[in-house]
Symmetry: C2
Subunit: 398 residues, 2 copies
């Protein structure tokens, strides 16, 4: 065949060619490591957990695969094994004032799947979905793939809470949902109870005004990663129409295993229909069930969390040093990121400059908030120590 006309899906092709900025830097880091040695690359780009998976999880896995009495690798129900969903629901009930049951839980292949499925359950073409800058860049990809329009509320760059004036401007009759991410990637900030309360009041007001619910999609993979006793308000306690997207990627350092869940709060109006739509959306996106072995391992270890002490050490080390060197940065209570203001004002050129020293930072432009760099501290503490002189050299050279 000569000169055939190739007419594949251009949007998919473009998304696969560009890839995410973060992934791009991560792959660059791997390439540099092969060239100059891993010890000479200071890669703060990716959120790949550095703390080991808790032993109890690996012990469960070992025991489960060696238990011949049980078909551990077989299909589970599409929404997840009943025992795993029960265990998750009980854990929610034990910790929060919400009456979660097994049939409110849909186990997923991680946070990205949770978000993609939830958006495909809720959205119709023409709907709008709002997120708060700075936001995880893939939100826009998932929202658009669900046929909806993505709107970013500009950042509150003073405290990295919510700029409510901007939010009220962004809400429109077609607004279907608002994505909340606390502790936040990339700022590390936890939304206060005061912020959540005010957010819920506003959403309640507009839900009534437009006579349809505006859902909160609470994306909370970093819930368990908070320091110095910080507390993260549980949004279903504050707002009925909440769908929680959870992931064990960070709390159990299982990022590559793709395990998480969607919790459709029983207080959601017509929650059974929403839950059915979640099941249907999972089905059409090609999710048959979440990885079975991981479902059972999670079920056996409710409430288990990796040792977050190393992240706290890393945060303190990095935050104290960078602010001493003259960098400016909001104080992060959770997650494993610092959101550092670019000393030059422009983050892309600053990150390019740092790259010459093999110091790999993510410019904030794709997070919808220009002029900052995301610094992931889910890395070896020793690597941070070795990187500190480079951070100093870079700011001193500007």
């Amino acid at each position: 065949m000569e000169n055939p006309s190739i007419n594949i899906n251009e949007n998919s092709c473009q998304l696969g060619t560009e890839r995410s900025v973060i992934r791009e830097i991560f792959e660059y880091g791997n390439m540099r490591a092969e060239k100059v040695g891993r010890e000479n690359v200071f890669d703060f780009s990716l959120g790949n957990p550095a703390v080991p998976t808790p032993d109890c999880i690996n012990q469960s896995i070992t025991r489960l695969v060696n238990d011949k009495s049980f078909n551990v690798h077989g299909y589970t129900s599409a929404q997840g094994a009943y025992d795993a969903r029960s265990s998750i629901a009980k854990n929610i009930r034990d910790r929060f004032a919400v009456n979660a049951q097994a049939d409110d839980i849909y186990i997923t292949c991680g946070a990205a799947a949770s978000l993609a499925i939830t958006l495909n359950a809720l959205c119709n073409p023409g709907d709008g979905v709002i997120a708060f800058a700075p936001y995880f860049p893939e939100y826009k990809v998932f929202v658009n793939a669900a046929g909806a329009e993505f709107t970013a509320v500009s950042a509150d760059t003073e405290h990295f809470q919510i700029d409510f004036a901007s939010l009220e401007k962004a809400i429109a009759p077609q607004t279907k949902a608002v994505i909340v991410n606390s502790p936040n990637n990339p700022s590390g900030v936890v939304l206060t109870e005061q912020t959540i309360t005010r957010l819920c009041e506003i959403l309640d007001k507009y839900s009534k005004q437009y006579n349809h619910p505006i859902y909160i999609i609470s994306d909370e993979p970093y819930r368990e990663l908070v320091y110095d006793g910080a507390s993260v308000p549980y949004i279903p306690e504050f707002y009925a129409d909440t769908i929680v997207c959870y992931s064990y990627s960070k709390s159990l350092s299982l990022a590559g295993e793709r395990i998480g869940y969607i919790f459709v709060s029983p207080k959601v109006v017509e929650s059974r229909r929403i839950y059915a739509a979640v099941c249907g959306a999972g089905r059409k996106l090609g999710y048959v069930c979440a990885p079975a072995l991981m479902q059972y391992a999670i079920a056996e270890n409710p409430g288990c969390v990796c040792d977050t002490e190393q992240y706290k050490i890393n945060r303190d080390l990095l935050y104290n040093a960078l602010t001493e060197y003259g960098y400016s940065c909001v104080y992060p209570d959770g997650a494993f990121y610092l959101f550092v203001k670019s000393p030059t004002g422009d983050s892309v050129s600053f990150c390019e400059f740092a790259k010459k020293y093999d110091l790999l930072l993510v410019p904030s432009d794709s997070f919808g908030c220009k002029g900052y760099m995301r610094v992931s501290y889910c890395v070896d503490t020793d690597m941070i120590r070795r990187a500190l002189p480079i951070f100093k050299k870079v700011i001193d050279s500007i």
Copy 2:
């Protein structure tokens, strides 16, 4: 809020409410088992592998999770860990006359994900995708979710090869792809080399006529499950524009772990763009990477296949008995299904009748080929032995 208008995605809601016929029967079987005892329910509905996962896989898993030197649970590259892709590509090169390389492989969360991703990579709204009856019912769900129209070519009910006259009627200028599934679910039939050759000639002809490639999507989770030395032609050897969707669900009895791959043959026209579109489609459907632990376990055990001897014993036992009782059924060379003609002509009422005896069969209507029942024999041989008198009683009562 009173009487709010709930306007979620109705298509998702409907797909989640109806669920697949097969899953429905499977859940019914579980419910009956609780009521009358597992030993009194003869469930031939689901393709949940009955043969154990090979020991080498469970040994790899055990070793990997206990290896502290290696972050086995961390993110891999989106397309899969390089070593895993290399291992898969080498296995393809070793077995077939195709020059597969690591960068032609995209590791997925199983066959359903492979299909959903491939269709979202290729299709634009208005495109057409063809499958051959009898076909796996979820094809239609995935095709429609990718915005394309699904067309079924009517079954060749004599040999369950391909009805080429119907195929030529089905092909249209908007035809983007044809899904081939051999060994076939639900018929168990393997397409012969003669059939594949003729199929490729026809697709070549229309690709030229319409001046764009018509892709073959080869869905082959049952490739390794063939008996008496039957051979399954490898379509990339016959047709350049082939994308293989593979899964380890059946070959390694890992159905619940969700692990498989997409192979974009390097002979595909503009294969790098197609591969990029696969990466992009995976990204927008929420797939970050396939389960990491399973990727490494697969990589360590290339060519490993579960013991298919039990399936052969089951096939022979069931095929011989059913045909002796007066049932009519095409002889299956592979997979683990018998496609049995309903003695009454109508399969839905026959399956309902059988259900009264707790004999659970899947009516063929949702496979696009009325009047048959799918009988999964990936079950305990002992359960088949106990079910045989029921099969006899049911046909004798008609």
